[in-house]
């Protein structure tokens, strides 16, 4: 087998392993199914009743933001699972096998892409139940989900990198939560970023989460016509900018995570 076929075959084997694992680990599966449901219901009803967006239902405005917040959270499963595996001896087993070393990380991130896909489906269904509707062509809707999932995949590599640098599940959980808070809340996910005070508004305008939320709103037809048009490039071209962010994250974090993996397991 040549190196590429080997990497693909081993990647598939490890993906299957991780999918089985998620199916059997109630805490992870709970995260994949429960988190989206809770997020949609919580934000749609609690915040939805307090905040009003002119010209449309707040649900429609809010749901794309919740999609993005949930996938950013779900991508942390990648890092969390890696730190758990690091505590056990299973990586020692893998490293004495004639497998492609990259398969551990590609298999992990691909399995998490599948779970993220499940999360997105659950969210969409719950969203439809609480009144979310799309107002765009089927092709745009499909593209919307695609852009979300691609970003989620890239973000899995970010959390993998953090996890491999920190190594223990407890430390990882703390740091990952600390990191995801500003990403999620200093964005336009829940409020129009124009309402934020000056410096925070700049952060929110350039935050990749805002870009992705805007892309989802545009592609699902959930933009608010009453709001003024955004004045930064990523928010004016959110789909292209989201794909650029995705590519950038992959280019930076795939090699970084791979290097850290080698370092973490050879101690």
């Amino acid at each position: 087998m040549n190196a590429l076929n080997l990497a693909i075959a081993d990647g598939i084997t490890i993906t299957k392993r991780n999918v089985l694992k998620i199916k059997r680990a109630p805490d992870l599966l709970g995260g994949v199914v429960m988190l989206p449901i809770v997020f949609v219901l919580l934000f749609a009803y609690v915040f939805g009743s307090m905040i009003s967006v002119p010209g449309m239902s707040y649900q429609e405005y809010l749901i794309p933001g919740i999609f993005v917040v949930t996938i950013v959270q779900s991508a942390q499963i990648t890092g969390y699972t890696l730190t758990q595996d690091l505590q056990k001896g299973i990586f020692d087993r893998f490293r004495t096998l004639p497998m492609a070393p990259t398969a551990v990380l590609t298999g992990q991130t691909l399995a998490d892409l599948l779970t993220n896909f499940t999360s997105v489906v659950v969210m969409a269904l719950v969203g439809l139940l609480v009144g979310w509707r799309v107002h765009s062509s089927p092709a745009e809707v499909v593209l919307g989900f695609l852009v979300l999932l691609l970003f989620a995949y890239a973000f899995s590599w970010v959390t993998a990198t953090v996890a491999l640098a920190l190594r223990t599940p407890e430390v990882f959980n703390n740091i990952a939560t600390l990191m995801s808070f500003p990403l999620v809340f200093l964005s336009n996910a829940f409020v129009d970023s124009a309402r934020l005070p000056g410096p925070l508004q700049v952060v929110a305008d350039w935050n990749p989460v805002s870009t992705l939320v805007q892309a989802a709103r545009v592609l699902f037809g959930n933009t608010d016509p009453a709001l003024p048009a955004p004045d930064t490039w990523p928010l004016q071209h959110p789909v292209a900018a989201s794909l650029l962010w995705t590519a950038l994250l992959l280019v930076v974090f795939v090699p970084l995570a791979t290097r850290l993996y080698k370092k973490a397991v050879s101690r």
């Binding site: 694992k21 087993r93 096998l97």
Partner: protein, 322 residues
Amino acid sequence: MSPAIMAEGLVKKYGDVVALDGMNLSVPEGTVLGLLGPNGAGKTTTVRILTTLLRPDAGRATVAGCDVVRDAARLRSRIGASGQYAAVDEHLTGAENLEMIGRLHHLGTERSRRRARELLERFDLTDAADRPVRGYSGGMRRRLDLAGALVADAPVLFLDEPTTGLDPRARAALWDVIAELVAGGTTVLLTTQYLEEADRLADRIAVVDHGHVIALGTADELKARIGGDRIELTVTSSRDLETVRRALAPLAAGDVQTDATALQVTIPVSNGAASLTTALGHLAAERVTVRDAGLRRPTLDEVFLTLTGHQATDHTEKETAR
């Protein structure tokens, strides 16, 4: 023919701790080498270097003709390994664990599945095959991990303390498996804390202390150096201790040791059971009442005392659980 496992001057340091200090090994194809040594001697470190889990700081080593550093990828396709701590996936079932290993050895789905079933049967895990490993006992995990080392039928096998945590039946079964593999031409390096086990399984034994080999030979050669078997006698009164010592001195092949609190005398002898019969005859003539008498192999402690002049003390603070 070049040896299946060869190590020359391996050095490994962890900060200030010198784990390996000039480890040399040579294991001919189709033979079993037992690495025998106390806690912290460097057995696991040696195995981890030879299975490409660690890089040596100095020295070189080859396994099945592949260099452990430069040729690591090729090396891995020629070995099976089971570490000191079971490396199994908690969430997968026993069968899924072994199938995964088979697929990662690129045996193909069908062969991996068949091989998994064979090995589960072999290690008496058929009933537990489809249960997640999370619910396995320690000994069951250990057996599954050992089965994992055998999936690929590799020509060279590394087993780090393979029988630790196994009940007597599982231990005997493993000994049979190893004997069978070696008869088929497999080369095995195993580590153990028990002289008896090394004696039973290994063609040659390397006694390791402070990161290098301090004695090497067949079990018989080593035993000859450390004075063969021991007669252990327990008497009923401390007054008899001196009588026993005097009466049996002619039989002793080394220092006779007496333990006044346990009322025990230990006499190294060279003729095994024959010596024991003679000894009991002498004692009957002296009218000493013997409460317990037996013949036993030297313990690891005694081997160490003889070979190094110091007791086999644990020179680490290392805990056994990870």
